[in-house]
């Protein structure tokens, strides 16, 4: 699209008291919505939990920049503070992250066609920071503002830089905060098949790692140790496998790992941490693979999307790859920096919404419990 059609300077000159002002603005937006194409530049902002991230994505698929403020190169910008859950940390990190995202994308604010931001689910204080900033940018530039569901955004991480990803698909979102299986039939057409009844998979990994005295975050540590241990050393329960439905439960597994270790400790036996880690990981992989394959069979799709931080787990990847190969299912796994929380997926999801003519009112408030519809 020709960006000169609608210069920022022109709308700037319009007097706010002019009654046509709002009308003109809306008309321009609607006209532009029809023009979303592969050149559309969308700024994505993600502040739903720990990560402060800003990204510029072209056409919903090409990542021009994806800045995650917990990355080391940005630390100099805001005094070396690693962003925490605090909204305050997001406030400090977000503006430098956006600036950095624009610089890396070789773009300016005036090149942007829309701003997409995570509207939920997440922590209300953290969400507010991103939403307020996105609204400010959208209203100053007079471009559409799109609120995005964080979980829907995770699904779109599979489309970034990946032109072979196609609907319909079963999506396994597996991270520290979420574990769910979604039947994604197309843009905006999702059905949640099942999810965890208690702990998310990543959370179970971290808690077991902490219990075994491994470093935090423990997911990668268990993964590393698993390569050294025997996955068949201890037979931990695979709860809910073989039962109907697609829900999973990890509290039973977590408890049986701690019981096993406590029992050995009490009896004065030495604990082979690598074996326990490998056996635990194998149990998680078996549960997830079983439920995911059941979901694929149920929905009769031939595509599987994997996303969320636990997608980095080598055991899970191998397990799913093997299972998918056996059944000729196409498995898509985004690179790890797109598996964890990031703004590129938010921008991609926002672009898809805009293409369908959906954008969000500037009155919209973040929703910590926003459901995936």
């Amino acid at each position: 699209m020709d960006k000169d059609d609608w210069s920022f300077g022109e709308s700037w000159r319009v007097e706010p008291s002019d009654p046509t002002w709002t009308g003109t603005q809306t008309a321009i937006k609607e006209q532009r919505v029809e023009e979303w194409d592969d050149e559309t530049l969308v700024l994505g902002i993600e502040t739903s939990c720990d990560e402060t991230s800003a990204s510029v994505v072209r056409g919903g698929r090409d990542i021009l920049s994806n800045v995650i403020a917990s990355q080391t190169e940005l630390h100099g910008e805001y005094g070396g503070i690693v962003p925490e859950v605090a909204a305050r940390a997001h406030v400090e990190a977000l503006t430098p992250a956006i600036r950095e995202a624009l610089v890396r994308a070789d773009a300016t604010f005036w090149d942007l066609d829309a701003v997409a931001v995570t509207l939920g689910p997440g922590l209300i204080g953290s969400l507010l920071v991103g939403v307020a900033e996105a609204k400010a940018i959208a209203s100053v530039l007079d471009i559409p503002f799109v609120g995005v569901n964080h979980l829907e955004a995770h699904i779109y991480s599979n489309f970034l830089g990946n032109y072979s990803a196609k609907w319909p698909a079963v999506v396994l979102v597996i991270s520290g905060g979420h574990t769910m299986l979604v039947h994604a039939r197309g843009h905006g057409d999702y059905e949640i098949l099942g999810g965890t009844l208690d702990d998310a998979a990543g959370e179970a990994f971290d808690k077991v790692a902490r219990f075994l005295g491994l470093d935090y975050p423990g997911g990668p540590e268990i993964d590393r140790l698993s390569l050294l241990g025997n996955p068949d050393a201890v037979r931990f329960p695979r709860s809910m496998v073989g039962e109907p439905g697609f829900d999973v439960s990890y509290s039973g597994l977590k408890t049986s790992v701690t019981n096993y270790v406590r029992r050995l400790e009490y009896e004065g036996n030495e604990i082979n941490v690598a074996d326990v880690a490998a056996s635990f990981q194998q149990a998680v992989v078996d549960i997830e693979v079983a439920k995911t394959l059941a979901a694929v069979d149920h929905t009769m799709v031939d595509t599987l999307f994997l996303c969320g931080g636990v997608a980095a787990n080598s055991g899970l990847r191998t397990g799913l790859e093997k299972a998918c190969l056996d059944r000729s299912i196409t498995l898509h796994v985004p690179p790890i920096e797109l598996c964890t929380d990031n703004a590129a997926m938010v921008a991609s999801c926002g672009t898809a919404l805009l293409r369908r003519g959906i954008y969000t009112s500037l009155d919209a408030a973040p929703d910590p419990n926003l459901p995936l519809k």
Partner: protein
């Protein structure tokens, strides 16, 4: 004074949570403590179910705060992942102490100085008495000692009501094993809870 009860299964832990529901009012604060896998989330599931929360109650360890809407709003907080008081305050803890909602804090004793004067402390502990577990080892793994400790005025009376409900519900669950009073009253003992480190500078403490 502390009330102690043995929970023989996750189901019983859920019932203990549920039997607390009728006495709860908005503004009440519950501090929930116990090791990994002790059944804290399980307890909250029972509580939330009895407060007519529909939808799933899952562990907020990563997401930190979950909010549910049942008969009253319930705020479910987990400070396990946090290391400093300042982080708890940054999370908007003072706003979470909403008089219109029931606040449940997992690992609450870690932030005891931030809690109001009046709250109920619940501790779930696994039995580590392996000596007595002669034959049925697996069952012992399910056993939890659950302690209810009233902090500040008002909770003693609520606990009396709660105990009656809990006894009845536990009896109904396993009528064959009905063994009279399940709750016992024990003196308070010194708490062994994990506490958050004070921040390097003194800004975090209250």
């Amino acid at each position: 004074m502390t009330w102690l009860v043995d929970s023989r299964s996750a189901e019983e832990t859920r019932i203990l949570g549920a039997s607390l529901a009728p006495v709860l009012l908005p503004g009440d604060v519950l501090s929930l403590n116990g090791d990994l896998g002790a059944g804290k989330t399980c307890f909250v599931q029972g509580l939330a179910g009895a407060l007519e929360v529909d939808g799933r109650v899952t562990s907020p360890t990563f997401t930190l705060v979950h909010e549910y809407n049942g008969r009253y709003p319930i705020v479910h907080l987990d400070v396990y992942r946090l290391n400093y008081f300042q982080e708890v305050l940054d999370l908007g803890f003072e706003e979470l102490l909403d008089p219109g909602a029931i606040l449940v804090v997992e690992w609450g004793e870690a932030v005891a100085p931030l809690l109001p004067n009046r709250y109920l402390e619940i501790e779930l502990r696994r039995s580590d008495d392996y000596e007595t577990a002669a034959s049925d080892d697996e069952d012992l793994d399910e056993f939890r000692a659950v302690a209810f400790r009233a902090r500040g005025p008002g909770w003693e009376r609520k606990l009396d009501t709660m105990r009656v409900t809990a006894e009845a519900l536990l009896d109904a669950l396993s009528p064959d094993e009905s063994s009279g009073e399940r709750f016992t009253r024990v003196p308070d003992h010194v708490s062994r809870h994990r506490r958050l480190d004070l921040p390097d500078d003194s800004t975090g403490s209250q």
